[in-house]
Amino acid sequence: SAVISQKPSRDICQRGTSLTIQCQVDSQVTMMFWYRQQPGQSLTLIATANQGSEATYESGFVIDKFPISRPNLTFSTLTVSNMSPEDSSIYLCSVDEGPMNTEAFFGQGTRLTVV
């Protein structure tokens, strides 16, 4: 199973600023995903990050707001730009090698509070 390290684990940010969240995996993986989770709620997929190509965003999420980098097969970053209090949430990195009968693995999450 993949071990995923996410940094920072939590942060309190001023509105209008940006925060970059890092996700490091202990093995090379093809597929990395970024999720948002309101406390106690379900997970919403933000985007899929593949190495060597642009991230694929889900409906309701745009690159200008959530730029993603994937410079290699073990690392990705998600930036939350021009933050507002509505961006306060938990952001989770996930890796999934497929095929369909395998499970996904998650980082411990980044709890973001925007004030």
């Binding site: 995923i4 379900s42 997970l43 899929t48 497929g98 369909m100 996904a104 998650f106 411990q108 999450g109």
Partner: protein
């Protein structure tokens, strides 16, 4: 479209009693079903999965799940609950579109185990 439903926001059970967390699914084709658990301030941890074969699947921490095709259900069970089982539980299904790499999560069920 693939989806899962968790009809209960919260389940309360006394320690030592059996517990059930319900999940129903809607899929086209073969279902690839998963259960994850999330402890406070932690990422999601994989518990168990159903791909094919025996309808009763055994997983981590003494949990099991029963796949019922006629009822399109995949309920999570444990014969004897522990206080430490108190957490947020997610049922999930593979989205078979686009290669099947995405996971779709239910709304989550919060389990409270009372001593």
């Amino acid at each position: 479209a693939q989806s899962v439903a968790q009809p209960e926001d919260q389940v309360n059970v006394a320690e030592g009693n059996p517990l059930t967390v319900k999940c129903t699914y809607s899929v086209s084709g073969n279902p690839y079903l998963f259960w994850y658990v999330q402890y406070p301030n932690r990422g999601l941890q994989f518990l168990l999965k159903y791909i094919t074969g025996d309808n009763l699947v055994k997983g981590s921490y003494g949990f099991e799940a029963e796949f019922n095709k006629s009822q399109t259900s995949f309920h999570l069970k444990k014969p004897s609950a522990l206080v430490s089982d108190s957490a947020l539980y997610f049922c999930a299904v593979r989205d078979l579109r686009g290669g099947g790499f995405k996971t779709i999560f239910g709304a989550g069920t919060r389990l409270f185990v009372k001593a």
